[in-house]
Each structure stands twice: as structure tokens, then as C-alpha cells.
Symmetry: C2
Subunit: 271 residues, 2 copies
């Protein structure tokens, strides 16, 4: 029996989110577990994170167990034969028998993609959020650092109760000159995120960029944890799960133990 870590790319448009739900709803996990059964693996996949319906992933880590003899390097091709066109496996590696894609992750990174031009883009629909009005970049650059560090993020999250303290390591703006027009990307990297947190932060930052609220107003959301103080959730189609990182020693098949999540980040395999 091997424990295997794979990275999967998916187009979230046709999925009711990542997590398996009630029968009849098409989910990333459901499709993947179906394919796992076809190659003789245990049909249970554990993901590094959750993504909502319409949210995409460039390299979502999953772990699962494989009793068979198929060489690890052949796993992506084997699974891809049974996976739909909007979900494919990019790489696979054997990891420690007690490796856990969610619990062992040191951090997760997300990007939210905004298209800034006068008219919407057919080729980027479902892939980026179109913003037809100019954004105040200076105000955004003032607001983003307020989110950094350890805070109670409940005020940005959805349907969350209980512990809302999370740590955000990076929150930055990236301008990109896409062929279909100027884009603005909001990049977030943190140990973990509350449900709906990224979309809540982006929706609130959009209000900052459009001059509807001050950068300073983010402080009160973090202090009071009241969802009503934040902006509306940004729509899912602009959001991408980028990657997660694991401690290097947890990525070795022979290692055991729970690992130390405070060690320097080892990026996941992308071969």
C-alpha cells in the first residue's frame, strides 16, 4: 500500500465545488474518487483545501492510498483516462504513509483575477471578474497590508462559527498585461483560510478600489468579526486555488511522524 500525493488542475465552472456532497451533485472529489476506484486505489481522496462551485485550481493537492502495483509515475496518465476534460491530474509522488494533504499543509495560495477594461471579455468569462470601472490602486495598496498577520477573519467568512483566527502571510496586488486587456490579480497566501474568506476579502477590497469604502474600514471588520461590516462576496469565477506547500520531509515515502508545520515551506511537486 502506497500513500500517493497528486496535484490536480480543474475548471470549476462545471462543478458544485470540490467536496463530495449529496448524490447527483457533480463535485471534484466525486469525479476523482470515481477514477481512483477504476485504477484500483482506495476511493477516498483528501484535498488540501475546499473550493466553492465555479472556483478553479491550478494545482490542488490530494492524497489517497493505492494497494496495486501501477508505477507512481504512471498514475496521472492512468487517472486521466477516467477523468473528465475539466479535471486532470498533473503529477503524482509517493509520500509518507501517514501524510495528510490537509493537515500537513504549511500554507495555501490563492489568486483572484480581475479584468479591467471597458467591455466584458467572452474568452475570459468564467475565468476572471470583469470590472468596467477604474480601480483606485493606491487605496488597494493601502488596504492589503491591513489583512496581513494573525486576525479573526470571521467578518469576511461565510457561515462560519467558532474559531476565526487565521494567519495571512502575503496579500498583494499584481498587475498583468493580458492579451485581452489589463488585469489585476489579488494574491493571498496563508496557513489556512476560513470558508468564503478569500471571496469576502476580495469583495470588500473591490469596494475599496471603487471608492465605496476606506482602506481603514477593514480594521473594524477584523476587530469585530461581523460579516455585515464587510462587502459582498466576490463571485467565484475569478478565484483560483494556486498551490499548497508541505514540509520537505513529509514528502518522502520513508518519513513518518506528524512533521513540523513551522518549518520553511517546501513547494509541492510540479513535474
Amino acid at each position: 500500500m502506497r500513500r500517493v500525493l497528486i496535484l490536480a488542475e480543474y475548471d470549476g465552472t462545471g462543478f458544485a465545488g470540490l467536496q463530495r456532497q449529496r448524490p447527483g451533485l457533480r463535485t471534484v472529489q466525486g469525479e476523482l474518487e470515481g477514477a481512483l476506484g477504476r485504477i484500483g486505489a482506495l476511493p477516498k481522496a483528501v484535498a488540501a483545501g475546499r473550493t466553492d462551485a465555479g472556483v478553479h485550481a491550478l494545482a490542488m493537492p490530494f492524497h489517497f492510498d493505492l494497494p496495486g502495483r501501477i508505477p507512481t509515475a504512471r498514475i496521472p496518465e492512468a487517472l486521466n483516462r477516467f477523468l473528465p476534460q475539466d479535471l486532470k491530474v498533473l503529477s503524482a509522488r509517493e509520500v509518507a504513509p501517514d501524510f495528510h494533504a490537509r493537515k500537513d499543509a504549511l500554507w495555501r495560495a490563492y489568486r483572484y483575477r480581475l479584468l479591467l477594461r471597458p467591455h466584458p471579455s467572452p474568452l475570459l468569462r468564467g475565468r476572471a471578474l470583469w470590472v468596467g470601472r477604474p480601480l483606485d490602486l493606491a487605496a488597494l495598496r493601502e488596504a492589503l497590508p491591513l489583512l496581513l498577520g494573525r486576525h479573526n477573519f470571521l467578518g469576511f467568512a461565510r457561515e462560519e462559527v467558532g474559531e476565526g483566527v487565521r494567519e495571512l502571510y502575503e496579500a498583494r496586488l499584481e498587475a498583468a498585461e493580458g492579451e485581452l486587456g489589463p488585469e489585476l490579480h489579488l494574491y493571498f497566501r496563508g496557513r489556512s483560510f476560513l470558508r468564503g474568506q478569500v471571496r469576502g476579502m476580495v469583495g470588500t477590497l473591490l469596494e475599496v478600489g471603487l471608492g465605496k469604502r476606506s482602506p481603514e474600514s477593514l480594521r473594524r471588520i477584523l476587530e469585530e468579526g461581523d460579516r455585515r461590516l464587510a462587502g459582498p462576496s466576490a463571485p467565484p469565477q475569478g478565484l483560483y486555488f494556486l498551490e499548497a506547500a508541505y514540509p520537505e520531509e513529509r514528502l518522502s515515502p520513508s518519513a513518518t511522524g506528524s512533521g513540523d508545520p513551522r518549518r520553511p515551506a517546501g513547494r509541492p511537486p510540479r513535474s
Copy 2:
């Protein structure tokens, strides 16, 4: 009455091609002409070129006539209210009353997008052709210049009869490091193209890149004009109509006459 030149972007996936066909088939022209009727324009749009089902466009020029008083600058927004999400107008300008989007074009440019990585990409499906094996770039670089200049391109075209001589101004390879993996773009610019010519050239070039035929073999296709000598048509989803160019003086509302197509290219408006 104004003659108006618009540039339109579309995702070709959901269209049975550009040209209006029999009723019930969803086409770019059909959707656009429907929207023209809604804003009081004559419901007849003439495009710079044709694209097949599944082929995309970044800036396809169309002309039409508008009797109403709507300001030219407001035309994109007005049309976009009635256009579907996979077809939008990017810009509009008034041109000479006898301007013709097809006949006046000095050249058209196309790109074919190849994704070169071990596994297919969900986020680029319908947007690029996935090629899982390495391509021989040196062979491609040897083959491309053979296509330049005036030739009979019937051997690459589809269902074409009659005159097959066309002039190709540019044919080049562009490497691009996309976020989803290395891409290779084949760029073609010519006065005009036969039906299916670009996809026929790309399919043949792919055989060159995969070592299935020699670069030299393209010569015989051009000499004999026999479609059976060329490779299969490359699938539509990797192909993009990029832009067309017009003589500067034909883009002015006050100009008349047929223009001189040998004048230096004036790019279409992209604002």
C-alpha cells in the same frame, strides 16, 4: 445613415461558426445581426473573415449601417446589452459610407495555440491544442518560411475550388511560457486565406514537428495543390482570429473610393 466598423471578441466554442447558416444553427453573425436589429441598425453585418465552429476571435471587424442617432461611442455598450456572454463588441467607429470590412482589409492575422506539457489542461480545453509529445522546433523553423509569399494554397484548404493563390506575409513560431505550461504559437499573417487553410497548414506543421514528415514535403503541397498530400486539419479550438488591418484613409468617415490595398497597413482601432 452611418457606416460603422466594430471589433468583436468571441469564444467560438458555442457557435456553429461565424457565417449565418440555416435556421436553428447558432452563429456569430446571427447573434450579432439579432442585436443590430435591437438597436435600430440594419440587421446585416459583414465580417472581415470567416471562422469555423470552435474558432475564436480577439478582434473580428464587422461593418453595418445605422440610421439612428445613438452616439458611435455608445454602440458597443448598446449592442452588448443584447449580445450573449460569448460574443461582445469591444469598439466602434464611423467609417466611409462605402467601407467594406472584407474587401478593404489589407491583411488578416491568425494564431494557433499549442500547449506542450505531459498532461492535458482543464483550464485550456477549448482554448489551445494539447500536444503531449515534444516538437522538433528546428524542423518547424525550417518549414515555416517555405509557406511565405505567393503560392497556391489549395493543398491546405478545405472544399475549395478555383483560384487558390494567396499571399502569406508572415509565418512564425512564438514560444510562450504560460502559467499552465509551455506554449507554442503559430502566427500567420496574409492578405487573405482560403477556407480551412490555416488549420490545414497547422495540421501539416504538426506532422513536421512530430517527425512524421520533412519540412521539405511542404513544397510539393504548394506545387501540386493536392489536399491529400497535406496533413489532417488541426482542430478548431486552438485557432484565434487576431485582427485585420485597413488603409488609414478608409477608416475616416469622410473618405470615399475603394482605397489602395497596397498602402502600408493601418491597424484597426482597439480602444
